[in-house]
Symmetry: C2
Subunit: 225 residues, 2 copies
DNA sequence: GCAAAAGTGTTCAGGGTACACCCATGT
DNA sequence: ACATGGGTGTACCCTGAACACTTTTGC
């Protein structure tokens, strides 16, 4: 599809790209799919596509996300518009990039049959990437890291119910630093952003953990760490 | 120019808009220009235009800024991409919006002769605005307010040399709250982001004030307030 | 029994906040 | 003389940071 761009359009066209992030195997990871055409054959890319004339840019991002992965009602935020002239060898494409947070656990992606395969990569060890997608993923990871400290958006990465240990570990992975368990719990309980939920997490070779859930799954500015 | 859009382009075209902000008469103010065509005749708008095929989006923003106001080497940051379908009645236009900070004092704008006139408006009492420019200015003001608290970007709004009183007043205007003079000075001196500069500010009916300048005019993350 | 994470309080230091008076100037 | 903002120090409180042991489970 992108091949015909430089024939059809003198001016730039608009694409959206969506960086899907989750925590998997104790790493912040991005969902990538392999390119199927030269010059990026076998390079990996984030999900994306051109916008349609009758949809907003936000809608286009949500549409591609849903069409290609089945994801809906997840944390989604506009990241940045990437508009360098040479960023797409097929033609002039300006991409408005979004990032999405999903809990890894229990999430079944419904990958579109048009996509050969997808794979999660740790954002710290990415394969060769198409276009400027390396820069894009780096920017997304930085934004996420920055926002964790002063907002509650960690909720996007956790399942409905979670333990304080899992919550703390999520912060530690993204902030890349160890946190003190007692101080962490004291702080989070004082912020009123999480509440005790019914039940415990059992089945592991240690004492069961109380479950918690988020009071609100709307973005809030809160001084967390 | 924008009139032909819906004839020529089936798909969306890309524009840039630039919100120019300064502090004038103790108000955070935006530079606006009157529209000269229906349906927005006599509405006001921020500076903007379409991008050219051979320039990046960032370059387009800087080019329009320079061409229309003569401004260069000022604080400029990408704000957000606005992409609602109906935002421009002439056709499908997605706008990548930037904001710019300038010191008001001593700044001579070289307004392009193509522009009939420009005027500063307090962002808290804006005239009727074209397109979604009300939303755009509001978003810019919010971003600025948020970033003042944790970065040093106030430097964009102040002249080369300034007094601590002027600096404090700038914060107070944008944050919309009074600050304690002694605590403010103590904090800023401890951060090493400003340094004493030669000379004093005299000529006003009170004790002369020492001048200061910024150690660095690069954006830095610093916990200021 | 052993390993592994859950759960729980106290102490200390540093930073934020509140607060009042004299100084140097222009009019 | 008077009005105006410049310039300065201290006391208190609260928050952030450091720190260790017992509990409950699965194997």
């Amino acid at each position: 599809m992108k091949k015909e761009i430089n024939k059809k359009y003198k001016f730039a066209v608009i694409a959206v790209d969506v960086v899907i992030l989750t925590i998997k195997d104790d790493k912040l990871s991005a969902l990538l799919m392999p390119m199927q055409k030269e010059p990026y054959l076998n390079y990996w890319a984030v999900l994306g596509g051109l916008i349609k004339p009758n949809e907003s840019v936000n809608e286009a991002a949500k549409r591609y996300l849903f069409e290609k992965t089945g994801l809906k009602n997840v944390y989604l935020e506009q990241l940045y518009a990437f508009g360098e002239v040479g960023r797409d060898p097929f033609g002039r494409v300006v991409s408005v990039v979004y990032f999405v947070l999903i809990p890894h656990e229990n999430f079944r992606l419904k990958i579109s049959k048009k996509i050969k395969r997808v794979k999660w990569f740790s954002v710290d060890s990415l394969p060769p990437l198409a276009y400027d997608h390396g820069q894009i993923i780096k920017t997304a990871a930085e934004r996420l890291q920055a926002k964790l400290s002063y907002t509650n958006i960690i909720y996007g990465l956790l399942p409905e119910k979670f333990t304080l240990g899992e919550l703390q570990k999520s912060y530690e992975i993204i902030l890349k630093k160890k946190l003190d368990k007692r101080n962490f719990r004291k702080k989070l309980m004082s912020l009123n952003i999480i509440k005790s939920a019914a039940g415990q997490k059992r089945g592991e070779a240690h004492r069961p953990a109380q479950l918690f859930s988020f009071v609100s799954k709307k973005p809030q500015v809160v001084e967390i760490l």
